[in-house]
Subunit: 308 residues, 2 copies
Amino acid sequence: MSLLVVGTVAFDALETPFGKVERIVGGSALHFSWSASNFVEPINLVSVVGSDYDFDEIKALNARGVDTAGLQVKEGEKSFFWSGRYHMDMNTRDSLITDLNVLADFDPILPEAYKNSDFLMLGNLSPVVQAKVLDQMTSRPRLIAMDTMNFWMDIQMAELKEVLKRVDVLFVNDEEARQLSGQHSIVKAAKLILEMGPKYLIIKKGEHGALLFQGNEVFFAPALPLEDVFDPTGAGDTFAGGFMGHLAATKDISFDNMKRAVIFGTAMASYCVEQFGPNRTKTLEHHEIDERVQDLIDLVQFDISLVD
Amino acid sequence: MSLLVVGTVAFDALETPFGKVERIVGGSALHFSWSASNFVEPINLVSVVGSDYDFDEIKALNARGVDTAGLQVKEGEKSFFWSGRYHMDMNTRDSLITDLNVLADFDPILPEAYKNSDFLMLGNLSPVVQAKVLDQMTSRPRLIAMDTMNFWMDIQMAELKEVLKRVDVLFVNDEEARQLSGQHSIVKAAKLILEMGPKYLIIKKGEHGALLFQGNEVFFAPALPLEDVFDPTGAGDTFAGGFMGHLAATKDISFDNMKRAVIFGTAMASYCVEQFGPNRTKTLEHHEIDERVQDLIDLVQFDISLVD
């Protein structure tokens, strides 16, 4: 089934306790697409870059079944640039530079062929831009997922809440869930957020794993314990790519299959953090993904017979 | 099988965002015993209190199969007292008052009948005191577990490392694992600690669950997502009580049974945090423990068939 992703395609500068890179491809739609391309094609990508972008990267994505007819290229302009620094605690980071450049007035225009995509991922963008994407769909996707962040909660909460009413799955991290709901308890926060529109909520907790909520059901997947987390940039988008890629490939949006999708997303994210940017995710082979899924099975599996 | 616990029996004063209590029974050996008494008897308890202690509490423990012949009562002296305050992030706390009182010169004396206990839990005490307990055992227990904390790493690291060589299971939290090993990565920390003596390592991460390491194997159990954590005091000792209680009851120290023990420990801890001190743990019935174990199964269970 076709999977549409709208998000950023960017350059990143990254600094972690393990190294530094001055300029590497990144952005939510790029990380998402590399990840999802392991599961399904076509992936329809809508984003914007400047003419300074690395177009070999785009060709590499095309070769993986990513359609970039929806990627706008702004001649003479610069691509979105983000620079960040991580400390030993990889769960927090400092944003050093955020140059919006072409992203400042990004107007997403969906090619006709994208407008009836079956699965839709709205990457972390202004809720106004996310709404514009939804407005262009000619048929309601089977599943609409969105990501967002505290920045939009600070400045466009009303617009964000409007988009929330129109989506099925929301991805946020624990702090964002708290801010969105005004509740410190993650369980209470989840209940309130599920009343705002989404039927499914995924709360990402970085190295502490991810929770999937639906109604009164909850599923938890730990992150794999890794010797080193080299660079967490893009891990959340890579997780979302594995999640949506698996759902689109299996055409099954039951809660049991969403659990599996969380596991595949977790496996993908565990690779993403091993190298800078999408470097590791790009070279993945199927058997490697299966190995990490098996690691996750081994990590949490136990066998108890309850007498009662 | 007999289970021996050496630790503190204390009074606590607790303050959390949900309430305050001026004086409540507590201490590592007390929380451990209430928890383990759901699984096995006898539990042999070695500790010290002053004549100010609440002896109805001791009688209640006796009624649950806890033998307190090893509980020293110091006439005219005061019991160990600890006062702490938790903020919304229940993973950290401020110690307000620590009055050692009778604990200052605690010399653990094991009754003869305790010296061949099959399972031994060394609660968080000075490693010098922990070593004194080991010295008194006339036969090597099938399993020796110990808890410790950063305080002992600061002032008695050499003594602590000597005790580590003599035990099978170490319980620490993530920060303590980092301090003990000098490694930030939990996986690297675990490898180093397993070279220090213990064959099994349990790293407790509070609301983020617990990891069990042995050799190259690792098992993870999440904490149950709870609407509110009312008071986390004693949760670690209650976890250890469920863990050791299950192992002693089943007489099985295989890795598979240790996984089950981690799950029972997690279930017990999830109740402990619902009320102040041991109030909730004391009233537990077996079907309630099983219910939480079932919740944990439902929380992490998924079904993936890998093709490869």
